[in-house]
Each structure stands twice: as structure tokens, then as C-alpha cells.
Symmetry: C2
DNA sequence: TGCTAAATTGGACTAAGTCCAAAGAAGCTC
DNA sequence: GAGCTTCTTTGGACTTAGTCCAATTTAGCA
């Protein structure tokens, strides 16, 4: 039940490999919502050599295990972030920035349960608009 | 103020071209949430010859004009649908099916306004889970 | 240490989408 | 309708995102 990166990977039932440890550490260090290629570059920067296909594999595995999360923001490459608290995203349609939006702002649910023909296990919300920086006219 | 496809395109301030008219008609006829390549095949099937790059252009333009809508469902190619009433989507994580979820089920807002650093102009919700057909064990 | 299942490798491959300069068409105005 | 301007289409090359696979390496266990 370790809380270290190694421990979290093992707890998730995954083998501890160089790539998995380094991917989480790199994603953590980079912060934010990152593409596979950004993470791959981050790994290279840290002197960790892993094949591109492996970075795809590793992030897919970590996502399945719930250690990282796909921060979907519409078109473009898939973006990952380290799993933390439950939140949604605000995407600026001008500069493309992605910022976190806490899910239950005032202690309640941010969204009503929907009536669907099946069972919902996860709800993802994307707020789109113009970020304050772009509103301020920042080029 | 015509309600025909031609009229709607013109009303939107766009030039009426063969490709634009045919794209809307094809998307309408196909129904559901379609990729550019599905629409391109639909066009070919109707005997309308348009370059693939044009199908991308046309759908982008129609989306900007609000005549079609991007039905985002996570990874994979962008999917379009003809603009109708406001709704969200339920995506089956097993079979990949996408079904509509009415936005304001009981007359209210389905989602609370979020506190973001900027101005939200659009909110998109993706419900993920298992559709009833997959729950029933359909292969 | 040795074994076995799981993971990585790298290179080829596919899919999704962009870009561009040249050619064509839509919507004016007269 | 002719002429003009601007927008749109074209098709082929190109880029980006991601998958696939057979050979090799490694993690975890006994
Ligand atoms: Mn986030
Ligand atoms: Mn829909
Ligand atoms: Zn912005
Ligand atoms: Zn299903």
C-alpha cells in the first residue's frame, strides 16, 4: 500500500517497469494536460529512453489502471494528466488552453443524473469559451 | 428565410455550392453521428463527386455556421450531425455506439453554471457507460 | 538462478487531417 | 447575359496520431 509511484503502480496490479515509473514522474513534473509526444519528449529530456510505441502503451495501461486520466478536450491528440480529484475542463476556443473546473463546486453534484438506455459509469463535461487572458486581448 | 437546405445555407451567409447542399442532405439521410469519410462515401453513393479535402472544408464551414454540429465522443475521427435541438451524448465503452441525451430533461438545466476564469459559451457533456444492448450480452 | 508471462522495441503501416497553387464557380453590378 | 471579384474546390503531397507485429528484453516469482 505504498504511496510512492512504484507502489501505486504495483497496487494497481501492474508490473513496475522503468517506462511506467518514468512516465508518471514525467507527467507529474510537466504538469497539466499532455500529449503522448510531449511526454515522450519529457522522458528523453530526463535521459529515459523509451520507444514511442511504448509511451502509447504505457499511458494506455496507466489510464486503464486509473493512475492517469484522459483529459479529453475535443479534436487533436489525446491528452493525459495524473489522476487527482474529480474535475472537468474549460477549453479556450482561441488559445486552446485547458484549465481544470472542480466538479462539485458547492458540495453538490455539478450535473444531474441523465436518463439513458444503459448504465452510466462516468460523466465528462467540457466547457468551451474564451479564457480571461484571451478576453484581455493577449496576443 | 427559406427553410430548404439551400435557403439555410444562404441564410447562414455562405455561398450555395453543390458540395454544401449535398453534404447536408447526405448527413441528414445517413442520420446519426458521422465521420468525414462516412459522409464522403455517402456522397459518392449519391453520385456526387467531391474531393476529400472539400468534404473536410465543407463540414468545417457548416459547423462554424452552426448548420451541423460536432458530436464529440472522445478518441477517433470527428463526428458530425445535423444541428437540431440541444442535447448531449451517451457513448458505450463496449460497442462504441453514440446516442443522444436530451439536455434539459425536466424543463430545468441539466448542468449548473461553472465557475471558470473566462466566459463559457458552450457546454458539452459525454456520458460513458454500457448501453442496454451490450448489457444484454449482445455480441 | 532459472522460468514464464508480460512488456518493450523499432520500423513499417494505417488513419485522420492539413496545406497549397491552380482552376472553377457563386454572386454581385451593369 | 457579360464581366468582375471573391470564395470555393481540386487533387496530390505532406504531416500527425496512433496501431501492429515479430523479435528481444525484463519483472516477478519459485
Ligand atoms: Mn485536468
Ligand atoms: Mn447527437
Ligand atoms: Zn485563451
Ligand atoms: Zn454498447
Amino acid at each position: 500500500m505504498s504511496d510512492s509511484v512504484t507502489g501505486r503502480i504495483r497496487n494497481a496490479g501492474l508490473r513496475v517497469t522503468r517506462g511506467r515509473v518514468a512516465a508518471i514522474e514525467t507527467l507529474q513534473a510537466l504538469g497539466g494536460h499532455r500529449t503522448v509526444d510531449e511526454i515522450a519528449r519529457g522522458l528523453t529530456g530526463r535521459g529515459v529512453k523509451v520507444a514511442r510505441a511504448t509511451v502509447f502503451n504505457v499511458l494506455g495501461d496507466l489510464a486503464t489502471a486509473g493512475l492517469v486520466v484522459i483529459a479529453d478536450a475535443g479534436p487533436g491528440p489525446t491528452r493525459y494528466e495524473v489522476a487527482t480529484y474529480d474535475h472537468h475542463h474549460f477549453v479556450c476556443t482561441i488559445c486552446g488552453s485547458i484549465t481544470d473546473v472542480p466538479c462539485a463546486e458547492n458540495g453538490g453534484q455539478c450535473i444531474e443524473p441523465a436518463v439513458v438506455d444503459g448504465t452510466v459509469s462516468n460523466v465528462q463535461v467540457i466547457y468551451r469559451g474564451v479564457c480571461s487572458s484571451c478576453e484581455a486581448g493577449d496576443t
